[in-house]
């Protein structure tokens, strides 16, 4: 596995337990344990069966976080994913109500998502000067707008036959299927990002796009692929969200994009591009999910929960920065 890319990287630092523990991901694992202990101590009902039962709705956001991490590492952003989920869920429900075989329904969800991603990708790669934020803001309004038109004056659609979706929402023992799917995709995305040339190209583009271009990386092709994958995963998220909601409406998926970005950022992925590991994002996703479930169970004011999450987000980035600066100052002082 080591020399797969044909290049050897010399400057891999020696790993020690202390270092693994002190790196951001290590601290996140510790934090994850602490959060679980904390939640279990404040809420009687924070038990494994309940946590697993409440999890599926939150897990749909992890599907979005995985490709979002790639986009952030590229130094870009996609705020249209929530709307993509909405559009995809809407069309999926409509197709399902036409009594199509379930496989067609699944494919529709994925296809609609991918097409939305393709639209984003095409605009962004055709007009490279455009900031992704503004393009995806525009497509966000358009995608949700199309869903609104499709839903008509009711603005809401229900499944006439939810059998297929009941199957997706099934469980093995206590563990819902969606958790397995999330883990499988998490592993795939992590391995691709850290172990393949594709992954390295992503980092290269994120740290210096021009240099990456001159060193022969197909920058635009990779961007297009990533935005399409983002759309695909949004379709997948829509599929599982439909299995939680048995329907769709115009507010479906509202704010998912920010949740996904928050998960990734909390996991140490920089929005400036080129930095961060997906492992961090995955662990932090579970931290945020567990915290939300735990605080939800003690009936904390939802706005207070948002304040806590916002503060955590800022602190997660602020503290290492301050720590780093102090270290630099210490070094400078000792040199003197």
């Amino acid at each position: 596995m080591a020399g797969k890319s044909g290049r050897t990287i010399v400057n891999v630092p020696e790993k020690s337990w202390k270092k693994t523990l002190l790196c951001w991901e290590g601290m996140l694992v510790v934090l994850f344990i602490l959060i679980n202990i904390f939640c279990a101590s404040i809420s009687q009902s924070y038990q494994v069966s309940n946590v697993l039962r409440e999890m599926p709705k939150y897990l749909t956001e992890v599907f979005l976080m995985l490709p979002m991490a790639y986009i952030l590492i590229l130094g870009e952003i996609d705020i249209s994913v929530g709307a993509t989920v909405c559009l995809s869920a809407t069309v999926t429900c409509m197709v399902c109500n036409k009594d199509m075989p379930f496989i067609v329904v699944v494919l529709t969800a994925l296809l609609v998502g991918t097409v939305c991603g393709l639209v984003n990708g095409l605009i962004l790669t055709r007009f490279t000067e455009l900031p992704p934020m503004i393009v995806t803001l525009g497509t966000q309004i358009v995608f949700r707008g199309i869903a609104e038109i499709a839903l008509g004056s009711g603005g809401s659609i229900s499944l006439s036959n939810a059998d297929g979706f009941r199957m997706i929402a099934g469980k093995v023992g206590m563990i819902p299927y969606i958790l397995f799917v999330v883990i499988i995709f998490a592993v795939i995305f992590t391995v691709v990002l850290s172990k393949t040339t594709f992954g390295r190209s992503v980092y290269a583009i994120g740290s210096n796009r021009l240099a990456a271009y001159y060193s022969g990386i197909h920058v635009q092709k990779i961007r297009l692929i990533i935005y399409m994958v983002m759309g695909f995963m949004a379709g997948l998220a829509a599929l599982f969200l439909t299995s939680v909601l048995y329907g769709a409406n115009t507010t479906t998926g509202n704010g998912f994009e920010l949740d996904a970005i928050a998960m990734a950022v909390f996991g140490g992925i920089s929005t400036a591009g080129g930095k961060g590991k997906l492992q961090g994002g995955i662990i932090s996703a579970f931290i945020i999910i567990c915290l939300r479930i735990g605080l939800g169970q003690i009936n904390m004011n939802p706005q207070l929960i948002l304040i806590i999450l916002g503060a955590l987000l800022i602190l997660a980035v602020l503290l290492p920065n301050i720590g780093g600066e102090l270290k630099l100052k210490k070094k400078a002082a000792s040199v003197k």
Binding site: E54, S194, G247
Partner: protein, 361 residues
């Protein structure tokens, strides 16, 4: 390189095992807790044999209307010796309410009374709640018939439609153009009322009224203002705007009053919000409007929850129960195939009583 792979795998494995391990540890403590830990069992007992827990889920936080509903609910539950949980979702969406319902199922409450943000999208969560033995009722805004046991309707849909249509007939003087300014295109309540109004309009005595447009202000003051102004310039002969939504009526009232327009307004609005605009003279934009008492909606919701939990009613049509000092109520068939309990007719707010109500809600 190998070490790096190893650390990556370790990280993932740690996360995975932790997710399972930590959880199972929790389960362990719970399992042993009910056997050995006296503290746990004591708490379990108290929640089983003593107080029942009743939960109310509102449409969104930070809204005085929802707050009054919750207040009424809480007051009755606590007076009847139950434990009350008031839950606001993090946003006014069905998505957010699903998380709230899930959390309530975990807490093992006895009943959930919910004002649904979407008619359909709560079905899976509410079915799960009912499977777990929780009594589910809706208030204010219903979920579909499959996902509830009964629905506390603040006023019959037809009654509201009738009241509003009569108001329009009265204010226009029998003929002329009128328009509707609604909330969002998917607002369950508003759509039901608008449909009812359109149905009633087919009667002969309304034949000279012309509904020119249904505009949507999305319950945003800015957009509602734009929409109202557009209605005014598009239809110079407009006589009445009917806004069956609290935010919309507020924004429209402000526009009409500021412009000293001859167009009048009616609809459904909170007295405290609308006090400034209600009056008979030309200086006020709204002669009168309707609403029900949200506190009473909450209180009836509470009595219904209690009746469902102690088995007085099952939510079938024909069931009867006594709602404290509010009198006796009967569960009746609803138009969507489910059942409902109707609070009463909508209440009219006019210049004579607005001062008395504006401080109440």
């Amino acid at each position: 390189m190998k070490k790096k792979v190893l650390s990556v795998l370790l990280c993932v494995a740690m996360a995975a095992t932790l997710a399972v391990g930590c959880g199972s540890k929790d389960e362990g403590t719970k399992g042993s807790g009910s056997d050995t830990k006296t503290e746990d069992t004591a708490k379990d007992d108290s929640s089983d044999s003593g107080k029942k827990t009743y939960a109310i889920v509102t449409k969104s936080a930070g809204n005085p209307y929802n707050e009054k509903e919750a207040e009424g609910f809480q007051e009755v539950i606590e007076a009847e010796g139950g434990e009350c949980i008031v839950k606001h979702p993090e946003a006014a969406t069905a998505d957010a309410q699903v998380s709230v319902i899930q959390s309530l199922i975990s807490q093992g409450v006895d009943s959930i009374c919910i004002a649904a943000n979407d008619e359909n999208a709560l079905q899976a969560a509410l079915e799960e709640a009912m499977d777990a033995g929780i009594k589910v009722s809706c208030l204010d805004s219903k979920a579909n018939a499959d996902s509830r046991q009964t629905f506390v309707n603040q006023a019959g849909t037809t009654e509201i439609g009738q009241a509003l249509m009569d108001a329009i007939l009265d204010i226009t003087g029998g003929e002329g153009q009128w328009a509707i300014l609604s909330a969002t295109s998917q607002a369950t309540n508003q759509n039901a009322w608008i449909d009812a109004m359109k149905e009633i309009m087919k009667e002969d005595k309304y034949s000279k009224l012309e509904l020119v447009e249904v505009a949507y202000g999305d319950d945003e003051p800015q957009k509602s203002t734009d929409q109202t102004q557009a209605l005014l310039s598009k239809y110079p002969d407009l006589k009445v705007i009917c806004a069956p939504t609290t935010v919309g009526i507020n924004a429209a009232a402000k526009v009409l009053q500021d412009e000293k327009s001859s167009v009048k307004l009616t609809g459904l609005g909170l007295p405290s919000e609308m006090a400034e605009y209600i009056g008979d003279d030309d200086a006020h934009s709204c002669p009168y409007m309707y609403l029900w008492n949200p506190i009473d909606v909450g209180r009836l919701g509470a009595y219904t929850s209690i009746a469902l939990v102690d088995g007085t009613i099952t939510g079938a049509a024909g069931d009867e129960f006594t709602a404290g000092d509010m009198g006796d109520y009967t569960v009746v068939e609803a138009s969507d195939g489910g059942t409902e309990v109707i609070l009463g007719a909508p209440f009219k707010f006019d210049p004579s009583n607005i001062d008395e109500w504006k401080d109440v809600y």
